[in-house]
């Protein structure tokens, strides 16, 4: 029963929203349910640390799942705190109605329930079903605006992610085939059982399965080669949903890859998954870096940065030493917090300025003589002068993202790089380091054009809603605190890294 509650709480919240709708009395329900998820995650983590993993039918909670529950709860809480102000502004602007706000809330809570189920699943099959369920639920959130861009993003999202996840299903089927004919007697798809007895799996068959599973779940994690959906979906979804998708959905798929890697390492040796993941990580970093350099849209900027960070997670998983895996987990948490705050900030900037473009230069864009009648939208610039608080939050967020101390992303990136050089993946790590520096430079230059400079002459002085400011500030503060000292999280992260190593 205890294990079931993190899934039941958001389901219940979704039900309440479906019945009562978006109204004054239900506005804060989302915050309550997210806070409940976070505290359930903490309680579960404490009980796992003291008494070890628990089983309950098709669900299991171990240190890794408890850690992921905390990440989901924390990011969900940030998104939930920012949601009421976001939806209120959208409704005032006439882009949303009470009905679409209700639908939004129902879908977000179903999405949270599906993610909780994914990290609690004891069985590879159930994990797959839960991750596929997140695709279906979020497709409606991505395509919420029935604009051309919204529909296009949703279409790409469903087609590419469903295909990727179908490949993962084929991988599960192939793995199941290997498990049924394992040397030490037939095995089920239970993750722990497979991890323990994977040595008896047929090597050639397992190799096919692992490739399919890692590429399939990698699609959902935004790793190359099937990453094309990510920037579109992240830029078209409403801000709180982008925060959730980028902050946790990607890492839940990354969690699935970690689970597959445990099985692969035992069955095939560490080298196989390592080579595959390292190649995918470097390819994703290269794609992200090349598309970030000339990026003109700040939501896409953040989306490509998510690709970069998931690539770092993949690289850390490829390295696979305890230090690397602990850094990967810290990175997942730190990136989730920072990216959630940045997407919340980006959503607010979009509402204030009405454009998601970054100004090209300090000069306003002049109209092309040939395009008479075409509205030339100047991008965002001079935000610091107009919206100092919002600009400050966004600026600090970007600094945290590129790994400035004291934020935890600094510690985790440093950990991954150190582990990489120590574990003999020097070339891959060095290449990744160069690409990360390029990305950091691009991020800083684009952000400075947004924040600094002469503000356009508008009399708009709408102030930042208090709850939005709290969400952004709290996320950054939490990230900085974790960066300074992980405190009681250390034990959990170490235990979870052990689980990801296959030691129970």
């Amino acid at each position: 029963m205890m294990i079931l509650t993190p899934i039941l709480v958001p389901l219940l919240a979704a039900l309440v929203f479906a019945l009562a709708g978006w109204r004054r009395s239900t506005v804060w329900l989302g915050v309550g349910s997210a806070a409940a998820m976070l505290s359930l995650g903490v309680v579960a983590a404490m009980s796992v640390v003291t008494t070890g993993p628990h089983d309950a039918g098709p669900l299991r909670i171990d240190a890794l799942s408890a850690f992921m529950l905390i990440v989901i709860g924390a990011v969900a809480l940030i998104a939930a705190v920012a949601t009421p102000a976001h939806l209120r502004a959208e409704i005032t602007a006439g882009r949303d109605t009470a009905r679409t706000a209700t639908r939004h809330s129902v879908l977000v809570h179903l999405f949270l329930a599906a993610m909780a189920m994914a990290v609690l699943a004891a069985d590879l099959g159930l994990l797959w079903v839960a991750i596929e369920a997140t695709t279906i639920v979020t497709a409606f959130l991505v395509g919420q605006r029935r604009s051309r861009a919204g529909v296009e993003a949703a279409w790409k999202y469903v087609v590419i992610c469903s295909t990727g996840i179908a490949l993962a299903l084929l991988g599960i089927i192939v793995l199941n085939h290997a498990a049924r004919h394992a040397a030490g007697g037939p095995l089920s798809l239970d993750l722990a059982e497979l991890g323990a007895a994977a040595a008896g799996l047929d090597g050639d068959v397992t190799r096919i399965a692992v490739v399919l599973l890692i590429i399939g779940f990698g699609t959902k994690a935004g790793l190359a080669p099937l990453h094309a959906w990510l920037p579109d979906a992240h830029s078209q979804a409403p801000a709180p949903v982008s925060a959730l998708m980028s902050g946790v959905l990607l890492s839940v798929a990354g969690y699935a890859i970690l689970r597959v890697k445990v099985i692969s390492d035992v069955a095939l040796g560490a080298g196989f998954a390592r080579a595959l993941l390292a190649v995918m990580a470097i390819a994703s970093l290269a794609v992200a870096a090349s598309l970030l350099l000339a990026q003109r849209d700040y939501k896409r900027l953040l989306a490509y940065s998510s690709m970069e960070h998931m690539a770092l997670v993949a690289l850390g998983a490829a390295i696979g030493t305890p230090l690397a895996l602990a850094a990967v987990l810290l990175h997942i948490l730190g990136h989730g917090l920072v990216k959630a705050s940045l997407f919340v900030g980006a959503g607010r900037i979009l509402q204030v300025t009405g454009t998601s473009r970054i100004a090209a230069q300090a000069q306003p864009v002049t109209a092309n003589p040939g395009s008479v009648g075409l509205l030339v939208v100047d991008g965002v610039r001079g935000l610091a002068a107009r919206q100092p608080l919002l600009a400050g939050g966004f600026g600090f967020g970007v600094l945290a993202l590129i790994g400035f101390p004291p934020f935890s992303v600094f510690a985790s990136e440093l950990g991954i790089v150190r582990a990489g050089f120590a574990a003999g993946l020097g070339w891959a790590t060095a290449a990744a380091l160069v690409l990360v520096l390029v990305i950091a430079a691009a991020l800083v230059s684009h952000t400075s054009r947004m924040l600094l400079g002469e503000p356009p002459d508008t009399t708009d002085t709408s102030s930042l809603p208090a709850t939005t400011a709290v969400a952004i500030g709290a996320a950054l503060l939490a990230c900085a605190l974790i960066g300074i000292a992980t405190g009681p999280l250390t034990t959990l992260i170490d235990l979870a890294a052990d689980t990801a190593m296959g030691v129970r």
């Binding site: 296009e152 279409w155 085939h177």
Partner: protein
């Protein structure tokens, strides 16, 4: 059922799946493609029914009926409904028909090479048909990436899925029933989502040619 008849029936139904996949690659009229897709659903249901008769398992018989209803009935019906409001013909796919058929031949050989370890792990009449399932998966993937009409892409995705289901039953005569139900539900939902999007796409773009999808690029 004796072993020879079983082998022949497995080969017949698996062969029908492959043939329908190639036909889908060949034909351009979307109405024909949907009809051929329904035939493939029937072949898949037949394949599962043959396995059910061989294993004498009531559960498998029920799954065979379910697959027949879903893949030869419900899904083609949904596709036809989308067709009523969409374009009739796959205009200008990225790769022409002759090249597509050649590609299909290459994909089939690839399927045989790739699935060799799967067959040799547990040789039996059923597992020897696995390469056919893998070939259908690859052809589905090919349709998905080379077609421009939204509806053809959905058919490509469904082909891929039929192939995966076939491989699933050929390897183990069905994974867990719960997983099987989850998978079928997911496919149904994914198609419903895609169908909804096709309608919205028509509202927004006027047609469902994915060439219209050019707003979001870098």
């Amino acid at each position: 059922m004796n072993e020879t008849l079983f082998t022949q029936l497995v080969d017949l139904t698996a062969g029908a799946m492959l043939l329908t996949a190639v036909l889908i690659l060949w034909r351009r009229e979307l109405a024909v493609i949907v009809r051929v897709f329904a035939l493939q659903g029937l072949a898949l249901a037949g394949l599962v029914a043959v396995l059910a008769a061989h294993e004498d398992s009531g559960e498998l018989w029920a799954i065979a009926v379910g697959i027949g209803v879903l893949r030869a009935g419900v899904l083609p019906y949904l596709l036809r409904r989308a067709l009523a409001v969409a374009a009739r013909r796959e205009t200008a796919p990225l790769v022409n028909v002759a090249a597509s058929l050649l590609a299909a031949a290459v994909l089939m050989m690839l399927a045989y090479v790739v699935s060799a370890p799967l067959v040799s792990l547990a040789p039996s009449p059923a597992t020897r048909a696995i390469p056919v399932g893998v070939a259908v998966v690859l052809i589905g993937f090919f349709v998905l990436v080379t077609r421009r009409r939204a509806l053809s892409q959905v058919v490509g995705f469904l082909l891929l899925d039929n192939g995966i289901t076939a491989v699933g039953f050929l390897t183990t005569a069905g994974i867990d029933l719960a997983v099987e139900i989850g998978v079928s539900l997911d496919v149904l939902l994914a198609v419903l989502v895609l169908q909804l999007l096709t309608t919205r796409m028509r509202e927004a773009f006027g047609d469902t040619d994915l060439d219209g999808l050019r707003e979001l690029r870098d």
